[in-house]
């Protein structure tokens, strides 16, 4: 009996001492399909280093099967927490259940899953629908009562940002019948696909019919700007360009007058995630299920050149 108490005492002290020690955190990242994604990886690494945690990084190369493997390997390795930026929303029940049984907290970064909420500790992200709405409302303000045909470059088919940024934008322009989305196709969040799809839009619609471009991320917008220029149109003037993410290159395009507005998706998702985890390790504080980051709108009036300078070293 005495022994047991001693054990219990030892266990509690050991547990209490844990947060001070370096924790091992596994980070299952989607890949590096966009500049924003690369910046998120860099910022996460910086945050982990700053706080003295050992970060294990796994790049899923855009494939869910790789990501499930990585999370399961983290569990087998016995890490103290897992950060997960899921490729798609579906199919996480099994692996999250396994993490729960191993008592490893999982924090979702930037994207959601459709699993039950008690399978993960919390999710850090921006409100994707809100971002789309901010972009839509900006366009409404910009065009006033003029008729405006919008073409849309969607993100990766089936991913939650593609679904929600589309819905949010539609909500933002709802009630303004002069603004219509005439064409909408996936550009897979990449520059090359954005350019390709924009070229086909321009061919199909004829340049004069398009009044604005809404891209689900800046990279696709940058590709599309190239396509607009090659078609002999002036991006930013002939065709308004609004996109989401706020990566450095779009600020350069804004400084050159070729893009009009962007909604920021902050790459620092890991900061709030580590805050939540540290509180959880320390005294078991359970954070709310969703921690929202700010969605700020930047336009050409915000000194884009200066913002470009401050962002370019973040690893975008």
């Amino acid at each position: 009996m005495k022994n047991l108490t001693a054990y219990a005492l030892f266990a509690t002290t050991a547990l209490a001492a844990l947060p001070a020690a370096a924790e091992t955190v596994g980070f299952a990242q989607i890949g590096s399909e966009s500049g924003w994604r690369a910046a998120e990886t860099t910022v996460t690494r910086q945050e982990a280093e700053k706080r003295g945690h050992d970060l294990k990084f796994a790049d899923a190369q855009q494939k869910q099967e790789n990501q499930i493997k990585a999370v399961k390997t983290f569990i087998a390795q016995g890490v103290d927490a897992i950060l997960l930026a899921p490729v798609v929303a579906t199919g996480w029940d099994q692996v999250l259940q396994e993490a729960k049984e191993a008592e490893i907290p999982v924090v979702l970064l930037d994207r959601q899953v459709d699993s039950s909420e008690d399978l993960y500790l919390t999710a850090v992200g921006s409100d994707l629908e809100h971002e789309g709405r901010v972009a839509g409302e900006w366009l409404v303000q910009q065009v006033g009562d003029k008729t405006c045909n919008v073409v849309e470059l969607q993100g990766t088919t089936g991913s939650s940002p593609a679904i929600k940024r589309k819905a949010g934008f539609e909500a933002g322009i709802a009630g303004h019948d002069n603004i219509k989305i005439t064409r909408s196709q996936t550009g897979d969040f990449t520059r090359t696909k954005g350019k390709e799809v924009m070229e086909s839009f321009l061919k199909a619609e004829g340049g004069t019919e398009i009044c604005a471009l809404y891209a689900h991320n800046d990279d696709m917008a940058v590709g599309a700007i190239q396509a607009i220029k090659e078609a002999g149109k002036k991006p930013g003037t002939d065709i308004l360009v609004v996109s989401i993410d706020a990566v450095p290159d779009i600020f350069q395009a804004m400084a050159a007058g070729e893009a009009n507005a962007t909604v920021e998706l902050t790459p620092n998702m890991a900061g709030p995630a580590f805050d939540a985890l540290e509180a959880y390790w320390k005294n078991g504080t359970v954070p709310p299920k969703f921690i929202q980051t700010e969605s700020k709108l930047y336009t050409q009036a915000d000194d884009p050149q200066a913002i470009y300078e401050s962002k370019k070293n973040l690893g975008y």
């Binding site: 596994g26 050992d54 970060l55 294990k56 990084f57 796994a58 790049d59 899923a60 190369q61 494939k63 869910q64 099967e65 790789n66 499930i68 493997k69 990585a70 399961k72 390997t73 983290f74 569990i75 087998a76 390795q77 016995g78 798609v88 929303a89 579906t90 199919g91 996480w92 029940d93 099994q94 459709d114 990766t156 088919t157 089936g158 679904i163």
Partner: protein, 336 residues
């Protein structure tokens, strides 16, 4: 030692050596948890690679399998969502479709004398396209019967899980091993892959064998699709892009000759496990870029192709004098 088994022995040696080196650095890698994960995570790849082994043994190739897996997942998702069919009925229906699809490709290859590369490439586009037509969104797959399959596992000592889908994969490997190395069908496949003309002269029905081989590959791809759908609980038309190439790599690393006629089915499983081990090691390390997986697999492929070339030359020097003479006279005739 049997020269045919030498590549298999080399593959096993590499696997054990690599695992040992990884274990020296990360002792936790030698746990039943990791071994269970290796088998479960790669179950779909193992099944599809076994089908691919048979195709390659017959001297062909099947590029459609990755797309067929994606199609299977979407098909299962859509059927469970839109019809009241039980998952098992959907599985049977799906396996029927993919097997018929494979048989059809085999028939086209044989009857129209088309290169398998082109026919199965067309098959790949058709299957991927069909998946997109069914649904472009990722469809959740939820059903009590599927959850029962997912949570069916044998808890090994040390908390490792040998799941049902991993067991299914091992069973497939065993069944196809028997089929290829212990049945008349296997002998016919080897004969067709070794030299189709000679096989025909020996009375092998080349057409029927070819059609059956692609049917088997279609069946394996469908089965892998079921396993993948259970594994991810989702059907997604963008899933398993390039899996056919991973499967081909596993077959070659597993010691099967790409030109057909020679190989050993269980080697493919070891090939799959080597690829899984590399990925596991990279995650354990946590600082390496995961793209090193591709580089290491590329290097292994080169190594094995070189090894095979050496073995083939060795064999032809030893006992192939006659065959070479015949080939030379055939060339002489062609030149004349």
């Amino acid at each position: 030692m049997n020269a045919r088994l030498l590549p298999f022995v080399v593959t096993c040696g590499i696997f054990v050596l690599a695992y040992g080196l990884a274990w020296l650095q990360f002792p936790a890698i030698l746990s039943t948890r990791v071994i269970g994960n290796l088998l479960t995570d790669n179950a779909y790849l193992g099944i599809v690679a076994v089908g691919m082994t048979v195709v390659i043994l017959s001297g062909g190739i099947d590029l459609s399998v990755g797309a067929v897996i994606a199609f299977s997942g979407v098909f299962i998702g859509v059927m469970l969502r839109d019809t009241g069919l039980h998952p098992y009925a959907v599985f049977v229906l799906l396996l029927l479709i993919t097997t018929l699809f494979g048989l059809a490709m085999g028939a086209v290859i044989h009857l129209l004398e088309m290169p398998p590369f082109i026919v199965t490439l067309a098959g790949m586009f058709m299957a991927r396209g069909a998946a997109y037509v069914l649904s472009i969104d990722s469809i959740p797959i939820r059903h009590p019967a599927i959850e029962a399959i997912q949570s069916a596992y044998w808890l090994m000592p040390g908390k490792g899980r040998l799941t049902l889908i991993a067991g299914l994969m091992l069973l497939t490997v065993a069944a196809v091993t028997l089929l290829i190395h212990r049945s008349p069908f296997g002998t016919r496949v080897m004969a067709v892959g070794g030299d189709a003309r000679t096989a025909r002269l020996l009375g092998v029905d080349v057409g029927r064998t070819t059609v059956a081989v692609y049917g088997l590959s279609g069946f394996c791809a469908g089965l892998a699709g079921v396993v993948f759908a259970v594994y991810t609980s989702a059907g997604y038309s963008l899933a398993t892009v390039g899996t056919e190439l991973d499967a081909i790599a596993a077959v070659v690393i597993g010691g099967t000759l790409l030109t057909g006629g020679s190989g050993f089915v269980p080697g493919t499983l070891v090939g799959v496990l080597i690829m899984g081990l590399i990925q596991t090691y990279i995650v354990f390390d946590g600082t390496l870029s995961s793209w090193w997986t591709k580089i290491v697999i590329g290097m292994l492929l080169f190594g094995f192709v070189a090894l095979q070339k050496g073995l083939v030359q060795l064999r032809s020097r030893k006992g192939g004098g006659r065959r070479r003479a015949r080939r030379q006279s055939a060339q002489g005739r062609a030149a004349a």
